[in-house]
Symmetry: C2
Subunit: 443 residues, 2 copies
């Protein structure tokens, strides 16, 4: 852990090498049973007056307070205080690492300038690329750490994090190094994604195919080699492509993703944020872990997702951030039997928000999910979107002890209330972190 | 201060009976010059590398770091750390005090049931009335305190707070007592409003005029007497009416407000949230401090506001909370020369959000305000909406030292970023409170 990063606090803690009983949860949301496809979305597996026994980093037992008190009568305890106990949020789509900000652009966008016009004018993502390329790894880590802490304080215990503001090998590798270092130093686990194909690099402005070839034939093989040398014990990162007008065509996306798959990388895709190019169906065809955005997705592409194991990741913060009216058609995806997940899309251009709770508040209002459906989409299904549903996203025996104690006793308050943080304690791999909306007086 | 309410913290503090220099603000937003009418909205009065000298509860000097360092060379200092220093938010419209919650109703509403139908079915506001009537004053204070703390931690240093979930004299008086107690115990200042006319009391379900007469002829005179006996040193509360179909007609609203005015109460009105009944023009005619909601306000009513000193208070969290498409037409109000303010409308039915930062994020996106305009609407203009612009809402010599140090260096980040809390320190009447998104590790 980095200095100044974690502050020792009051009172209680979880013991190591001894089971600990967390008891008296008003509602224990287990989310047991694996990813929730189609209409099965929203099964929270609620245990009233629930309890969990944690040992070291894992869950040893799940049940009622009475039952587990009898089974573990002499263990140390942690009182959930008649509040909701649930799995940590898994945020499966973030552009966590960048330098600078785009506050100056915000006023323009609110004035009505379309994002793709800003992009075409050399602003937008390319201004972040410029700032990121000139930032040292120390600067990148220092500017990203507060975002990561903010995520964690809002209950995200695992987050996907993409590169993609480098668009050149040297910077993309620096971003990967920084993400590996942040994953190492922080309690939050990162699932890293390589997104050299986030936009056409400015050097290839008039030759998008040239940059596509550069990503395909130079960056991806180099990434494979670099990863095996520098992070041999970490599974290969995801490879993601922004399949969209003014970014990568469907064919260019196919070229990059096919090569990535042949090298053994798991796949993701940005599809149909502004236009329907067919990226979602491509993702399903290639067996990608997820297809993300899906605002303008056609009915046939929705059907393709529904027949696949590719998770449909909705990013409601992005239209909200841009004040656009169209959101991911969640009900259609559910009817088509797709596996729906939620993410923040935290990024400096369209949506700087670290809180999965806010993504849930939006999903209820603008995608017409119930709080139960939104919570399942933000835990077990989002874990599946980063292919970690075997170890996180629910409260089941043998899974990682990534838990939240909320400050409320009814899960429906998540979504109903918004704009503030309802998490009281984050338990990550069995370690307890107290979160406080708190303010502290001096003098 | 109540027990467990404030936690002493680390490091630094402001000295009493000695001036203290708060220095090195990247941007000091003074908001100097009084309420901002029409197109003048958005003048932040920025001083770069700004500084403030505070003595006891008041502001002694405002200027640049260099200038004030020379003028106050030996005073204790507080470093703003190259962050934004600005006035505390003033939230001029909240229904802060109630018992229970309506999480159970949230799913129904998201399923499409209109609020007025829920109201007509005895749910909605009346379910909160039921819970509030049966709650003791201790319960009411205990349930309201966390909301008040959440507001304060998000930078609201003064908030208006309405009664109105009693709808009977005994409960309304209990709510007033509880609000006076909360005002007394907490660092946040409350501007109290009596809103016996929040809805037709269930006892008068078939006789709205009967309840109107009860409020007018029984409650208001009793309130006057009670207030002078119980809170003689506190100015009279505002009197507010919900002028809307299924609540109080325009004539009933006029009856209540005219009587209130004759008794010396300052006035407010809920107007045009769902239908245009003429409440805004009535407010202007009667010299009300504010007319609030204003979603369906007609052009002629907007003009009436523009010619008056009645502040137009927009409540963007309410349509957001209800997932409705229509927001207050802020640009029209600005063009009509009205004084525009922002508030949260924090309440259990339509918008449970304590953060003015989130109201600003919505106002930028859905009312097309710039961050500068939204900040002015949330400070100096909202102070005027509760008729306290003489003492709060801006950073000027002799005003109350109600200040925020943000965790960001550019004011435009407020609105641009959303969903989390950008306030780092709250300074209230010269006392400093540290806010931390923080989480704290044990074990």
């Amino acid at each position: 852990m980095g200095p100044g990063f974690l502050i020792p606090a009051e009172g209680w803690f979880l013991w190591f090498n001894s089971p600990v009983l967390i008891h008296s949860a008003s509602q224990l949301l287990t989310l047991a049973g694996g990813p929730q496809r189609g209409r099965s979305l929203g099964g929270l597996g609620i245990i009233e007056d629930g309890a969990v026994v944690v040992r070291d980093e894992r869950i040893l037992a799940v049940g009622t307070t009475d039952g587990l008190r009898r089974a573990f009568p002499d263990e140390p305890t942690l009182d959930a205080g008649r509040c909701v106990l649930m799995p940590g949020f898994v945020d499966p789509h973030t552009h966590l690492i960048w330098a600078g900000d785009r506050a100056d652009e915000f006023e323009k966008k609110m004035g009505g300038m379309p994002y793709l016009d800003i992009l075409a004018g050399g602003g937008g993502i390319l201004s972040t690329v410029k700032a990121t390329r000139t930032a040292s790894i120390e600067t990148l880590i220092a500017q990203t750490r507060p975002r990561l802490l903010r995520m964690f304080a809002h209950g995200t215990t695992t987050a996907e994090a993409k590169t993609g503001y480098g668009l050149q090998t040297s910077t993309e590798l620096r971003l990967l190094k920084a993400l590996l270092a942040l994953d190492d130093e922080s309690p939050l686990d990162l699932a890293i994604t390589f997104m050299g194909a986030h936009a056409i690099a400015p050097e290839f402005k008039d030759d998008p195919q040239g940059y596509t070839d550069e990503v395909t034939h130079t960056m991806l093989p180099m990434l494979k080699e670099w990863w095996e040398a520098h992070a041999p014990r970490t599974p290969l990162p995801f490879v993601d492509v922004f399949c969209e007008n003014k970014a990568f065509t469907l064919e260019q996306s196919r070229q990059i993703l096919t090569k990535a798959r042949s090298l053994g990388f798991p796949l993701k895709i940005h599809a149909d944020e502004f236009d329907n190019l067919g990226g979602a169906a491509l993702a399903a065809e290639l067996g990608a872990a997820s297809a993300d955005h899906l605002v303008k997705t056609s009915d046939s592409d929705i059907d393709a997702l529904g027949r696949s194991d590719t998770v449909a990741v909705a990013l409601p913060c992005t239209p909200f951030g841009l004040a656009e009216a169209d959101y991911t058609p969640a009900r259609k995806l559910i009817e088509a039997d797709a596996i729906l997940a939620l993410a923040t899309d935290c990024n400096p251009g369209t949506s700087w928000n670290e809180s999965m709770q806010f993504a849930i508040a939006l999903a209820c209002r603008y995608m017409k999910l119930t709080p139960a459906q939104a919570i399942a989409a933000a835990t077990i299904n989002s874990a599946h979107a980063i292919r970690r549903a075997e170890s996180i996203g629910s409260i089941e025996v043998e899974k990682q002890a990534d838990l939240l104690i909320l400050s409320v006793s009814d899960y429906r308050q998540v979504g109903y209330r918004y704009g503030t943080n309802l998490v009281r304690q984050v338990i990550k791999r069995g370690r307890v972190y107290s979160v406080d909306v708190g303010y502290y007086r001096t003098a």
